[in-house]
Amino acid sequence: MENVSLFIPCTIDLFLPHIGEATVSLLRRVGADPLYHSEQTCCGQPAMNAGYRKEARKAAKHFIEVFGDDEKVVSPSGSCVCMVKYRYPELLEDEPQWRKRAEELALRIYELSQYLVDVLKIEDVGASFAGKVAYHESCHILRGLGVSEQPKKLIKAVKGAQLIPLNAADSCCGFGGEFANQFPDISEAMVKDKAENYLTSGADLLLLCEPGCLLNIGGYLSRNLPGKKVMHLACFLAGNRTEGW
């Protein structure tokens, strides 16, 4: 049994806990034994992105303390994994001990689809779905982590699911954290495009691996196109497909 430590980002913890549940159930199904440190809080990305590095550093140190001894850490969020992998060493570069710990942690933290396919070497998780699905390539997962084939492999292995192309799949959905709130006009134009591309793709379901994108696209669809669903890959694979977004 593979021990793996769960990193559940605050977006999921607070607004989309069912994704966390789906992640746990999915990992158990494929033979992993997920462990969750309840001392975890937030990776600090909001502070980092707003320029509050001192505050982000506090989050980083706490995170490293919480996850420091785990063999592997897995998270159903790409942007948070990027924060830990790439920004923690940068944030802590003036404190050599902490930086070293951050660099070591960076080597053993994974986004969920990356963990399943690259580490556990699993593509078929025993799920099924009758219909067409499209996949939105979140920016941090695609360009930050270089993860693109892994989610698609997992989707293709789902019995009955047909992965179809999505126009401008790798184009940003317009979330960007505070960007969506601070520049709503631009953000809306971007998410509207993403929704239109979803509609014209003919897919029954839009899948993604990033809770931020999910809140953004899901939030837009909820208000403007209530019939259309967007879902996190973890929920899709685990079969938790009814609760929330």
């Binding site: 920016c139 930050g144 940003c172 960007f179 208000r223």
Partner: protein
Amino acid sequence: MEIKTEQFTDLAKKELENDRLRTFLKVWFPVLSMKRDLGIATLPDPAAAQAYGAAIREEAMERLPELLEEFEKNALANGAKVFWARDAKEANDYITNLAKERGIKYVTKGKSMVTEETGLNEVLSQNGVEVWETDLGEFIAQQLHRPPFHIVGPAINVPVEEVRDLFLEKINLQEPTLDPVQLGYAARIFLRDKFHHVQMGITGINIAVAETGTIINVENEGNIRFTKASPPTQVSVMSVEKVVATMKDALHMIRLLCRNCTGQKLTAYVSMDSGPKKSGEIDGPEELFIVIVDNGRTKIYQDPIARDVLRCIRCAACLNSCPVYGKIGGYAYGWAYSGPMGQVLDPVLLGLERTQDLYRATTLCGACKSVCPVGIDHPSMFLYYRAKDVLGEPYFMAKRRPRSEERFFKAFAWAVSRPWLWNLAVRMIRPYINKDAREGVISKMKGPFAGWFRTRDLPVMAWITFHERWEKMKENA
């Protein structure tokens, strides 16, 4: 050129409400992006070629003083004259004086972004020297009194009807037409006359080569060639960072520049000047003046992180791949430089306070960084500027953030390392956040997050968070 960087949000809104522009961008922008991708794919190993470009420019920036000296020495040996300008005023005054000394009535101008930055055209005009931009897009933008929309297509967004009306009014267009080709030919005739009789031409410089003292321009139209060939006086202007070490380096950068810019392997013309014309030559400049402009760059240079921004070769690949630019176009950025390259350059040239929106109007999607042929990490630069802003650093002309925001993040820092406090805060905030929720969904919220809720919903803050569910889940393993 008026600086309107503080008006970004309003300008962006205006552009988004322009239906004509949205239609244009919807079609043109993906084509531009695709052309760039196809162009770069013509190289045997595009990633290696881009990494090599980054290495060339990294070296050029680290060796900048040495290379500038070498460039000057060789340019002087070629017979050129070299003038160094600390700032916009020195550059503008010098060039204006050159014109006045020679009794110049008008100049033709090849595209030069640094002279848009310094506002050269206005100063020349004020001093009785008429300025004719000759790049078709720059010409249209100039006649319409608009800033450039895109590095390569300065007026590409202007609807054909407006160009027709402009040309009917300003350049004696004979037959009203909506055919861009006919309009272009009318501009050709009009500007040809200017090229024919011009006595002083002003160009930018794409690349300056230290090893030979050569200045290089790339173009498709031929207006820069005319501006260099026809008049007896040529003035070419560069900002300090345009230099590379060798001709071989320059060739590699030209391969990257053209592909990233328009998808072409090479532009129609690449002209390389090493000094003024020699005796016996009937055209070309008797005098070649090279103006090297600082205007804030030596200041940026002092900061090793910000220094990387100077690598930029103005290829526009970042504009061509930016989802924000693709929605709002170039005007919203409010100055001579738009898109991600403007968003990293303007803050250090103009100061963080007056460019606050520029380094925040990004989702950090990283598309710009992924296409940049000189390895600029735009998202990291945006984060860097935001951090400097929070610190209120005077060197960057930053202004501190609102007190309420500072307090919020101080509280955040307190709670984030104290799980009991974090979870308590969640329990306390939750009823407030959810107070207007209906059926598990929040559709409106007053206060600092109102922007989100204009067209989006949010799920309620979970009545049982993942934290709170875990105990149960642990048991059910």
